[in-house]
């Protein structure tokens, strides 16, 4: 058994697609219209056959209280691996990405937390022994 798709709930699928491709640098894998919404996934350009991230519409009534609580405490539900957290932070800052937490060195990992503008906080994580 393998993990092939993970979902993230987004306020607006097309806005999310722009952020995840144009700002974070992922690429679109699948876009299949399904009524009001689409089945929409992106993958990392560094690993186009890897895990897909599904940009899921955040319509369900349970989503808002759940995400409000995560946002209040600054909890990123999703984490992406980067080779160099500081370099990624500076690159994304130059694109006006809002960071809730600049890179913090925790010893074995360096993490930062950004706002995806679609209702989610995202952690970027550099594992030092891999870099």
């Amino acid at each position: 058994m393998r993990i092939n798709i993970l979902g993230i709930l987004v306020d607006d699928q097309q806005k999310a697609l722009r952020f995840y491709t144009e700002v974070l640098g992922f690429q679109k894998k699948t876009e299949m219209p399904m009524g009001e919404f689409s089945w929409l996934t992106v993958v990392s350009s560094e690993d186009p056959d890897g895990v897909e991230l599904s940009l899921e519409p955040a319509q369900h009534p349970a989503v808002k209280p759940f995400r409000d609580a995560l946002m209040a405490d600054g909890i990123p539900w999703t984490s992406f691996a980067v080779d160099n957290a500081q370099a990624e932070y500076e690159k994304l800052k130059a694109k006006d990405v809002r960071f809730l937490q600049p890179p913090v060195d925790h010893g074995t990992v360096v993490t930062a937390v950004l706002d995806d503008t679609c209702g989610n906080l995202i952690q970027i994580c550099e594992e030092k022994d891999k870099s």
Partner: protein, 95 residues
């Protein structure tokens, strides 16, 4: 009613202040990450949140909302009441 002495008497709360003083405006998530990674303190977020409430009550922590997120600051100004009450003498301590 909590006073500053009771707030500072707890070792976890003192470490929370250590970590908050390292960077301004931390989220609960960031603070819990620092406690876990730097101090092997794996208190639940809820427990850390309760510690923060005690520290906020005595003014050692200030909070502010930035957008929809709550951020925390260390504020040392209540510590002045300690040295006002027991002034630190000038010069070297007598042996």
């Amino acid at each position: 009613m909590t006073d500053i002495y009771r707030a500072l008497a707890d070792p976890t709360r003192r470490i929370i202040l250590d970590e908050l003083s390292k960077r301004e405006g931390q989220t609960l998530f960031e603070l819990c990450g620092r406690l876990a990674m730097a101090h092997k303190l794996t208190s639940s977020r809820q427990a850390v949140s309760q510690h923060l409430a005690v520290l906020e009550e005595v003014g050692l922590v200030r909070t502010e909302r930035q957008g929809r997120t709550k951020l925390h600051w260390f504020d040392g100004s209540p510590l002045k009441t300690i040295v006002t009450r027991w002034p630190i003498p000038e010069g070297k301590p007598r042996s």
